[in-house]
Amino acid sequence: MDDLSILWLILAAALATYATRVGGYVLITRMRTLPPRLEQALNAVPAAVLTTLWAPAFFTNGWDVRLALIAAALVSLRYPGLIMLAAGWAAAMLARHLFGL
């Protein structure tokens, strides 16, 4: 592909991405009242989408990644985000370099 068509391709992709970021808002504000089930579905969006961003990593990797995620989950029950991140990272480093997982 030549340089100019790559440029246009990137800009078209940017526009398509922006459309997804505005689209839900445009659709939802067309409705006057939200049916309760739709409301309930929208409330579940964060947990439903964000789960897909870690679950495959947990189930398709080895015990190094699993231990890191388990350690992070336990720590997150009491401590804030950065400490959880550090705990999970430390667990992965230990698992890989000390236990060779």
């Binding site: 592909m1 391709l9 991405t17 309760p36 409330n43 579940a44 969006v45 964060p46 679950a55």
Partner: protein, 238 residues
């Protein structure tokens, strides 16, 4: 300095830090696939959606029709439609221009942190939103350009356990919602859907498949005894 600015900058810095290895990775892979440093930076600056950027450069290298590449990127980013629908009621106070700007920056962590903030009863001001967004945006742009420049000099990210940072970060965000009604069935459905999607369809489609499973289960769960609408107006009043 304004409290919202400080909170936004802090939150944005945490996610900027955990995402930076992935930005570097994107830049490195982009140049590896024949893109210039400028193209890689332009993708980060205008598309600003990590997973779809990686899908894009994967397809640039092959003989794929341009419209198909754009469609693939659209499909990978489809989950943002759910985000902008879910965030709509929390940003009613924004002007039309503020909304148009805010939606450009609506990434996964931006959405999750914004919703969490709104549900904790703290105001989701435009100031907080943009402080968070701009830290993340410019660090994403900076690190992907850095990766494009120095990509070939990178060692193995696995040796430094950099690959586990984002999954940990997202797991933490999910757990922050654990007291919401229907949390466990939704997470279970999304887990099954995304893992099955990962095996049988492949990445990155597992994201949309898992998300749809979770949201469908939420829609089918029994409604609470109190009408949900009442709960929403309470939230708005607080």
């Amino acid at each position: 300095m304004n409290k919202d600015i400080v909170a936004g900058l802090k939150g944005g810095a945490v996610i900027a830090l955990s995402a930076s290895p992935f930005a570097v990775l994107f830049g490195a892979v982009a140049v590896d696939n024949g893109l210039t440093v400028f193209d890689a930076a332009l993708m980060s600056a205008t598309i600003y959606a990590g997973a779809s950027q990686l899908v894009g450069i994967e397809l640039f290298g092959q003989q794929v029709a341009p419209w198909l590449i754009v469609l693939s990127i659209f499909a990978v980013n489809f989950r943002h439609i759910l985000y902008s629908a879910a965030i709509a009621r929390h940003i009613r106070g924004y002007s039309l221009l503020q909304k148009a700007i805010a939606f450009f920056f609506l990434t996964d962590p931006q959405f999750a942190e914004a919703i969490r903030r709104a549900e904790q009863g703290r105001p989701l001001t435009f100031t907080w939103y943009m402080a968070f967004a701009l830290v993340f945006y410019f660090s994403w742009l900076f690190f992907s350009t850095l990766g494009a420049w120095f990509g070939s000099m990178l060692g193995d990210p696995k040796a430094w356990a950099i690959d586990v940072l984002l999954p940990i970060y997202f797991l933490g965000l999910v757990l922050a919602f654990r007291r919401k009604p229907g949390f466990y069935p939704v997470v279970a459905a999304s887990m099954v859907g995304s893992v099955a999607g990962y095996y049988f369809v492949g990445s990155p489609w597992h994201v949309s498949i898992g998300a749809i499973c979770g949201v469908l289960v939420a829609a089918l769960l029994p409604l609470p005894a109190q009408p949900v609408a009442a709960e929403v107006s309470e939230e708005a009043a607080s």
